[in-house]
């Protein structure tokens, strides 16, 4: 592909800096992907951190397993697995809107052969695409023939791409040996409960051994299969991430128990995600008014579980056909019609060079952050503030305020700059705020932040943000996120010290536009 040659040729040219290369790549593809870096895999800070070397090796380039990697590496899902073997109250398989982004939804189903072609096309266009996942739109293991055929084809044509799959776990124990056979070393199991009484409120039925089970019995079978599958995977040294959907009033407190149960069975990472629920999705929860959690509720639960194990906070709850960095979705560039016309040459060597350059840039940012932290040690250890960052999905502050589709949220203290989540601000299938001033939407989404860092911002929104108590910071355009945020924080602490102003806590915020909350219902 021409795009790839632009990047790789530039790397080969002596004297050409990584920034130039990244810029060229970004311009060429209409997306920003420069460099930078942050912390390591979800919960452990500073690159490799406290992870064992063999685990670090497995996760360091995996955007879904490593928070730091997600700034740099891209993933793609191929929608080869349409069938499912359970029904969840947060899922409606009939719904597909092009603007909709959530698991279980997909625009185009693929055969394994077309999927393999698509992977080649994407890998040739996006050299930082390192991970191929099968996540549905049904359940990967309810379609074992299609799923494993796809893995077989891809491992033949693109051996450097990591394979992963996600499953509800019901069929998992039957397929652990095949998962091992294809070197799938990352498996995500969605586990929302360890108590069948709780499960009965989430799963109306399952299909197991040629029979439909309902109620507590269905949930008990699912639970037992999930635990067995998890134990079998970890016994085979396959990394397991557990996804849980936080459903206020149903399993929010219970997820602490889930966290303990999965940790004790060897899960590596726990990803607690907010329920996506809106009446227009036609899900049971959407229709019965079940709300999703607020930002504070989600963070409190994640913080509570963090002492127990690594928590993932950068999940974007993407579609089963998503392509690109986690914050973006470029699947529209790779529809079946388009990939059939693309001439694809798989340049393994070129991909490796590109990824090596990314690694060097990652290291640079990590060093910059640690230098900043070292200077701050000791001052105001108890003060913590949240800040929002406009970024195109790299480790830099490189997005205009008005263009941002999401903001990444960092918690700053004298000990760390810690990624704690992200907030979508693009209008979400007209999720209730169709006519509303978009600035108000943004303010509601980052209302718990003291400042928002942007590459550029106009005078009017800057003034309005100030009125809402949020400082717009644009003097760190294109700089590394964490280093810049910590510099600002140092300055902030300086102003508190001098008495210029008093540190005050901020309010709560809304996670995702379109989520059903009592407030939005009343509005």
């Amino acid at each position: 592909m021409q795009q790839q040659e632009v990047g790789i040729d530039s790397i080969k040219k002596p004297g050409s800096s990584m920034d130039d290369v990244m810029q060229q790549m970004a311009e060429h593809k209409g997306c920003g992907t420069s460099g930078g870096s942050g912390k390591a895999s979800c919960g452990s800070s500073g690159g490799q951190g406290d992870l064992a070397p063999d685990i670090w090796e497995k996760v360091k380039n995996h955007p879904c397993y490593s928070e730091e990697a997600h700034h740099h590496y891209a993933r793609m899902h191929v929608a080869v697995a349409p069938a499912c073997n359970i029904q969840c109250n947060y899922c409606n398989r009939k719904y597909d809107c092009a603007n909709e982004s959530r698991p279980g939804v997909v625009s185009e189903k693929l055969t394994p052969e077309v999927a393999a072609k698509k992977v080649l096309a994407v890998a040739s266009t996006i050299p930082q695409m390192t991970v191929l996942g099968i996540a549905g739109p049904g359940d990967s293991l309810a379609n074992p023939a299609k799923t494993f055929k796809t893995f077989e084809l891809i491992s033949q044509v693109a051996p450097d791409i990591k394979l992963c799959l996600s499953t509800n776990g019901l069929a998992l124990p039957d397929h652990v040996q095949e998962i091992k056979k294809y070197n799938v070393d990352h498996v995500t199991v969605t586990i929302n409960m360890v108590d069948p009484e709780v499960g009965a409120k989430i799963y109306p039925w399952i299909y197991y051994k040629n029979k439909r089970y309902t109620g507590v019995e269905a949930a008990r079978i699912l639970h037992e299969r999930q635990m067995l599958g998890l134990e079998m995977l970890t016994a085979e040294k396959i990394l397991v991430k557990v996804n849980s959907v936080m459903i206020p009033g149903i399993n929010d407190d219970h997820l602490v128990e889930v966290n303990k149960a999965v940790k004790s069975r060897g899960a590596f990472l726990h990803n607690i995600m907010p329920l996506i629920s809106a009446p227009e999705h036609g899900t049971v929860f959407g229709l019965n008014g079940q709300r999703g959690p607020t930002a504070q509720e989600l963070k409190a639960l994640q913080d509570k579980c963090e002492g127990e194990m690594n928590m993932m906070r950068h999940c974007r709850q993407c579609r089963a056909d998503a392509v690109g960095l986690l914050g973006e979705d470029r699947s529209a560039e790779f529809t079946v019609d388009k990939i059939m016309e693309m001439e694809v040459s798989y340049d393994l060597e070129g991909r490796k060079k590109y990824q090596d350059a990314v690694e060097a840039e990652r290291q640079k940012e990590s060093d910059a952050k640690h230098a900043e932290l070292a200077e701050m040690a000791g001052e105001f250890a108890a003060v913590k503030v949240l800040v929002a960052i406009a970024t195109k999905g790299s480790g830099r502050i490189n997005e205009h305020f008005g263009h941002a589709k999401e903001f990444q949220i960092f918690e700053l203290s004298t000990q760390s700059a810690k990624f704690v989540g992200h907030r979508r601000v693009d209008l979400y299938c007209q999720g209730g705020y169709g006519d509303e001033d978009s600035l108000a939407t943004v303010i509601r989404a980052i209302n718990d932040c003291h400042a928002v860092f942007v590459a550029k911002i106009g005078g009017c929104p800057k003034a309005d943000l100030k009125k809402a108590g949020i400082e717009a910071v644009d003097e760190y355009a294109n700089e590394f996120i964490e280093q810049s945020a910590l510099r600002w924080f140092k300055d902030y602490l300086g102003k508190i010290k001098s008495g210029e102003f008093v540190h005050e806590a901020r309010g709560d915020a809304q996670i995702r536009q379109g989520a059903y909350t009592p407030e939005s219902a009343a509005a």
């Binding site: 349409p82 069938a83 499912c84 398989r93 009939k94 189903k109 379609n143 299909y207 040629n210």
Partner: protein, 73 residues
């Protein structure tokens, strides 16, 4: 003697296809259909029709009234 799939309801997820003990289900024009002459309502195989049991959308696999109910031999 047969079930049928309500086209407007079918999500084409394909879950029913491999479950049918009679290989009566196949994809046609982006949705799935049941060949009525092959369908036995799963009598003699399972306690419940498999297409109904696995289908994610209620009232999508239904008895086709055009045909008399299947009688086990």
């Amino acid at each position: 003697m047969a079930y049928k799939i309500v086209t407007s309801q079918c999500t084409a997820c394909s879950a029913c296809e491999p479950e049918c003990p009679n290989n009566a289900i196949r994809e046609k024009d982006g949705t799935f259909i049941i060949k009525p002459e092959k369908c036995t309502e799963c009598i003699g195989y399972f306690d419940e029709p498999q297409c109904v049991a696995v289908c994610p959308v209620d009232d999508t696999c239904i008895i086709d009234g055009v045909y008399p109910r299947y009688q086990a031999a």
